[in-house]
Amino acid sequence: MSVTLDHVTRTVDGTAHIRDVSLTLERGTLSVLLGPTLSGKTSIMRLLAGLDKPSSGRVLVDGKDVTGIDVRQRSVAMVYQQFINYPSLTVYENIASPLRVQRRPKEEIERRVQEAARLLKLEPYLNRTPLQLSGGQQQRTAIARALVKGADLVLLDEPLANLDYKLREELRTELPRIFEASGAIFVYATTEPSEALLLGGNTLCMWEGEVLQHGVTPKVYRHPDTLRVAQVFSDPPLNIVGIEKKNGSVQYAGGINAPATGLYADLADGAYRVGFRAHQLEVANGAAGRHAFSATVTVTEITGSESFVHLHRDSQNWVAVLHGVHEYEPGVTLHAALDPDNVFVFDAADRLVASPKSIAFSSEVPSGSREENASNKKNA
């Protein structure tokens, strides 16, 4: 089975929520919708589910036009960011609800509910009502209901966003494993780049109602087509600096001159923008071959195992991430360094012209086999 959006646009009260999106999702794949709030992730899901109708364009299932067909006729399950269950039913009845509506035999319902409950560790709570559960258990109930239905299309709309850190970690590793077996089409919306990387599969990078890039997650991460994709797929925010290449050297905005080594060597003369993620910015007295800057510390955030150092340099704010605890007082001047082999270079139209060379990726939109993603994740 496959689901296709064919030039779908959705406009509400004159505001475009989705602009001319075309995509195809195949059976047995996990697709991550990655984008900031209001980028259209939920809108895409509602269109895929059939909860909303496109203003123009078609929704196809296995090549058949299903635009405007009632959601009850489609094989779709959805988990929302809010914990949505039926408050008046027990957890058991909540999970059994789609099967009861399908009028499945009693034994089958019992078997499938117990199976889903075991998978999501809900067995001790089957006789409680959702409001007697913790947030994580409530969301697991909602996920179990989506799972037990055996739908062809499962939509997870930021399902872990309202959970605490530990539960999120736990469910995030469980979810791909849980859904892998069912062979359905999974769509998972998130605002967090790290979540997309952990889930693997394919990533659809979204911005203001458009799908900017669709590809295997590590490929989108390492080879963002545009500066915008790199920005969406970076947390902390992508650091940016302008450069001008001329006569075999690069001039960084704010007046640092360096030889055009590394990725800069092959660039044609002209103006570019260089993007680099927090971990690509080194805070050190530059090793050989690095391009060195001096920048002022504005604030240091320490998470426990990592330190995020916010720097200010020539009207630009940068963030560097360091392992371990580093406490820099605000106002201190630090040496920051860039490896010219480890940056993203974008041309005047913000298109990627050079990216760190690591693994070569095929350029076609892949089906995203799990083994390949697993190996990529390690290198990511």
Binding site: L51, R72, M78, Y80, Y86, P87, S88, S97
Partner: protein
């Protein structure tokens, strides 16, 4: 009933205390201010009509009474003109003097009230619950009975409470639309007043019995009401 000892004494004492302020009001109205502040008499020593003369001659005083009278009359006229068409209508279709007559007439007031209360509860149910139910395959009637009604149970309790209370104490329509067969208890209670006086015991007993259904309703919906008052639009 008259054999209960002290019954008359308690009733007379009660009435005495009830009427005392009224007597005192009337008494004072015939006194001069000087007499009111200087002495205390059970009746005026120097009766005067000056107070009443002031009210009937000073425009700022009597216009107040006229205003009050105006809106009371308008209100009464409107209330009765609402009630009378019901009387005509029900007479024409032989509904007059049946429980249906009053029940239907009360709907005119209770239905909007119930809609208003329930709307608040229904709109507090997240849209996602509807959608999840439809994605699960629920038909609308099944969703309504299995999911929605349990969710807004406290709202239904509150709405039922208000409808009951309105209907139970409403007298105007109930009296207009019934004569003998379907006469409500509040109308029947006026029978205790006769030429021979008021049958207090009977009136009190009827009053007690009138309280019971209301108390029962509150008892049954009290949990819903506590939640309902806190949640919805009451």
């Amino acid at each position: 009933m008259s054999t209960i000892p002290g019954r008359r004494i308690i009733m007379v004492t009660f009435l005495f205390f009830l009427l005392l302020p009224i007597y005192w009001l009337v008494n004072m109205s015939f006194k001069t201010n000087n007499e009111i502040v200087t002495s205390m008499h059970l009746w005026p020593y120097q009766p005067t009509l000056a107070n009443y003369r002031t009210i009937f001659t000073d425009e700022s005083w009597y216009s107040g009474y006229i205003n009050s009278l105006k809106y009371v009359i308008i209100n009464t006229v409107i209330s009765i003109s609402v009630a009378l068409p019901f009387f005509n209508l029900y007479s024409a279709i032989n509904l007059f003097d049946t429980p249906w007559a009053v029940a239907l007439a009360h709907c005119i007031f209770n239905v909007p009230l119930a809609v208003w209360i329930l709307e608040g509860f229904v709109s507090s149910v997240p849209r996602e619950i509807d959608e999840t139910a439809f994605l699960d395959g629920y038909s609308f009637p099944r969703f309504f009975v299995k999911i929605l009604i349990p969710l807004i149970a406290s709202g239904i309790g509150v709405a039922a409470f208000f409808c009951f209370m309105f209907s139970w104490v409403e007298l105007l329509l109930a009296r207009t639309l019934t004569s003998v067969a379907a006469k409500p208890i509040s109308a029947t209670m006026t029978r205790t007043v006769s030429a021979a006086g008021v049958d207090w015991g009977l009136l009190a007993a009827a009053g007690v019995l009138t309280i019971i259904p209301g108390a029962l309703v509150i008892w049954f919906v009290r949990n819903y009401i506590a939640r309902g008052f806190a949640l919805g639009r009451v």
